[in-house]
């Protein structure tokens, strides 16, 4: 395990040479004080103007989750077949943002584009997770059934009741993810919370941006209070009626498929030149994406290791723990894109805002999960004189296996998120995809999206192999990160 960790440290160090850390704003301190002032005095003045966007954000999340659960559950039955797995891997490996970039030319900047963009990868995710939940569930009751029992009857009596609690648990977590994705899609122009947040940040209305962020947090933290089974059906029906109401439906299909066709097939340009263009853009985008991820994963691990003792009751007072606990939850809940955009405004365009955003968000998740384990461990009496010694020589060695397992799972997520940060002007593969779409080169964008999907798949497979080799598989199966 140590060899693998050193390998990652070395990769992070080498990646530093490919990452640009320039601060290009003239006066970041003044901007920082404005942002701090905004955070300390949030304003809700434009609430009447933005509240439809809150409703849209929630409606998109509800409809996407509902459709993806239905289709994902059906596919889960066939997940042991290679073709079902292959389709799900393809759906999952492309980020919601990139699906949206492909769908917006057809459905416009409407909630329907957002719904489809979230639904498509979520189908793949639900199919995989539901199938894993089923295969890891207690099989004794179904094995005790008589051989003549029909599969459907056996399923509703001996499988469904056992897997339902784990499925609901996962759906609740995924709904939170869908809310975040729905908000993030606003950065593309779809009228969700992200749309207003981007405008407020860009125009320097930090008081209002802080107010809107507070509303976003309240929306997520209050989920357990309003997402009740009894009213869920009514909420879902309203959400469907809203998303599919006629003024939200637009179709611009003319010429779309033609534009997705590689340019050499539609013109006299040679395939060589077309491939060369894809190669240049793709190579640059992929190198930047990988470099950003590798630097961020190392900084994430370091920050998380520092945050764990500051948030654990074993090392700090209850009040300090509570303060850090709230901080971790806020950073964990805030999408990286929001944090990155904030630092982009503050520091100017470079990789630095992206590294900071990925580090803060992921370290908060890692620390949050590890603190839960740390708090459960008891320190042996009289062995360690200083708290810091006990952390490094008692707690950390015991947490390390789990910590590394979480980190590898985050690695897969971080490579996807690094790619998507391109849409706010950071030179990862997402930037080149976004630029190709702006230039109406949909064929190039599609090729780059496929490349980005292949990269995610490669990291996903590598992470799986390393976890298996280090015997970390299974440790994290039920953890929702």
């Amino acid at each position: 395990m140590l060899k693998t960790c050193f390998g990652f440290l070395l990769a992070g160090f080498i990646a530093l040479f490919f990452v640009d850390f320039e601060i290009s704003t003239i006066n970041p301190i003044i901007e920082l004080s404005k942002i701090a002032n905004g955070i300390l005095c949030p304003s809700f003045a434009r609430f009447t103007e933005i509240y439809p966007s809150i409703f849209t954000t929630v409606a998109i999340a509800i409809v996407s989750i509902t459709i993806s659960i239905i289709i994902g559950s059906i596919i889960a039955f066939f997940y042991n077949q290679w073709y079902a797995r292959a389709v799900c891997i393809a759906l999952r490996s492309v980020h919601e943002i990139f699906w949206a970039l492909l769908l917006i030319p057809i459905f416009g900047l409407t909630p329907l584009s957002a719904v489809l963009a979230i639904t498509i990868p979520f189908i793949g995710i639900f199919a995989k997770v539901f199938s894993e939940i089923e295969s890891e569930s207690n099989k004794a009751p179904r094995q005790a059934l008589s051989k003549q029992t029909s599969k459907l009857s056996g399923f509703i009596y001996t499988i469904l009741p056992i897997i339902t609690p784990a499925m609901f648990n996962y759906i609740r977590y995924r709904f939170e993810c869908a809310l975040r994705s729905s908000a993030v899609l606003g950065f593309l122009g779809i009228p969700t919370i992200g749309f207003y947040l981007e405008t407020m940040f860009r125009e320097g209305y930090y008081h209002q941006a802080a107010g809107l962020l507070i509303i976003f947090y309240m929306l997520i933290f209050s989920l357990r209070y309003w997402l009740k089974t009894k009213i869920l059906i009514i909420i879902t029906l309203i959400a469907f009626a809203y998303i599919f109401k006629s003024e939200n439906l637009h179709f611009y299909t003319t010429g779309y498929l033609t534009e997705l066709t590689p340019w050499p097939l539609r013109s006299t340009q040679s395939f060589h030149d077309w491939f060369l263009e894809i190669y240049k853009l793709g190579a640059q985008g992929l190198i930047n994406t990988i470099s950003l991820t590798q630097v961020s994963i190392v900084s994430t691990a370091i920050l998380a290791i520092l945050l764990i003792p500051m948030s654990s009751i074993k090392f700090v007072s209850k009040s300090t723990k509570n303060i850090f606990h709230i901080l971790l939850i806020i950073l964990r809940t805030t999408p990286e894109l929001f944090i990155a955009y904030l630092f982009l405004v503050l520091l100017g365009p470079s990789m630095l805002p992206a590294v900071i955003a990925l580090t803060l968000h992921n370290a908060a998740i890692m620390a949050y999960l590890s603190v839960g384990l740390c708090d459960k461990l008891d320190i042996p009496e009289g062995v360690y004189k200083r708290k810091l010694d006990s952390y490094f020589f008692w707690f950390l060695p015991q947490l390390f296996g789990q910590f590394i397992a979480f980190l590898f799972l985050r690695w897969e997520v971080m490579i996807r998120d690094s790619a998507l940060l391109g849409i706010i002007g950071i030179y990862t593969i997402g930037f080149y995809i976004d630029s190709a779409i702006s230039d109406q080169h949909l064929d190039v964008a599609l090729a780059l999206i496929i490349l980005s999907g292949l990269l995610t798949l490669m990291v996903d497979t590598t992470s799986h192999i390393i976890r298996k080799r280090l015997r970390l598989e299974g440790i994290t199966t039920c953890v929702q990160i």
Binding site: A144, S150, L152, S153, T158
Partner: protein, 217 residues
């Protein structure tokens, strides 16, 4: 009823059953006794596998669905008799007739007041009785019990064994308590190291044979 000849079962390098041959008759109450690891559970499973019409196996781990009520866990034994939609309706709202049938069995086992309690809220002994109720509800002629009284107190184990013995079915069970075997079985098979040590009626088995069965090698 069933004839078994020269069975050998291996788990990796471990030999669980060596050259076992048996003749089982209808309505017999056969107890399989022996120290842990003697091959009792393996022999029961081999018998279960070989009974052509199927039997009811009361598993050591109960194999219940903790989220479902006692009623549904017992009803599972007869899923194959009804259509999917009948089963689905019964899952949502218990059918009155099925409810009465199951209540009668639960009364014999002393857990009729737990009929609508989720199994996860029952004690180990109560769960074991639900597993037995499920085997009785199935309605076949043969019941196999892999330590069916391992989780209940002596009073309740007597009730359970009486219920199973009086059910007029062939009853083959493994058990750790030799006194229970002597009291309820019509035939006792003593097993050690995957082999049959003795196989006779309780009245013909000597105390010294039992002592030798449990003596360390």
């Amino acid at each position: 009823m069933l004839s078994i000849k020269n069975i050998n079962v291996k788990y990796g390098d471990f030999i669980a059953l060596k050259n076992i041959s048996l003749e089982l008759k209808l309505k017999e109450h056969v107890a399989i006794i022996g120290p842990s690891g003697a091959g009792k559970s393996t022999l029961l499973r081999e018998i279960y596998r070989r009974i052509p019409t199927g039997a009811n196996l009361i598993q050591q781990q109960f194999a219940l669905v903790p989220q479902l009520k006692t009623f549904h866990n017992v009803y599972i034994a007869r899923l194959e008799r009804y259509s999917f939609f009948t089963n689905l309706c019964n899952l949502i709202k218990p059918n009155t007739q099925r409810y009465q049938e199951i209540l009668t069995i639960l009364k014999d086992l002393g857990i009729e007041n737990k009929i609508l309690t989720p199994v996860s809220q029952l004690s180990g002994g109560e769960q074991q009785r639900v597993a037995i109720a499920r085997a009785l509800y199935h309605g076949g002629n043969i019941i196999l019990g892999d330590e069916p009284i391992s989780a209940v107190d002596p009073h309740n184990s007597d009730i359970i064994m009486s219920t199973l013995s009086n059910s007029n079915k062939t009853f083959i069970f493994s058990v750790h308590q030799v006194e229970v075997a002597l009291k309820f079985a019509t035939r006792i098979i003593g097993m050690k190291d995957g082999q049959i040590f003795f196989d006779d009626a309780p009245g013909n088995i000597k105390r010294s044979q039992i002592n030798n069965l449990y003596a360390p090698c």
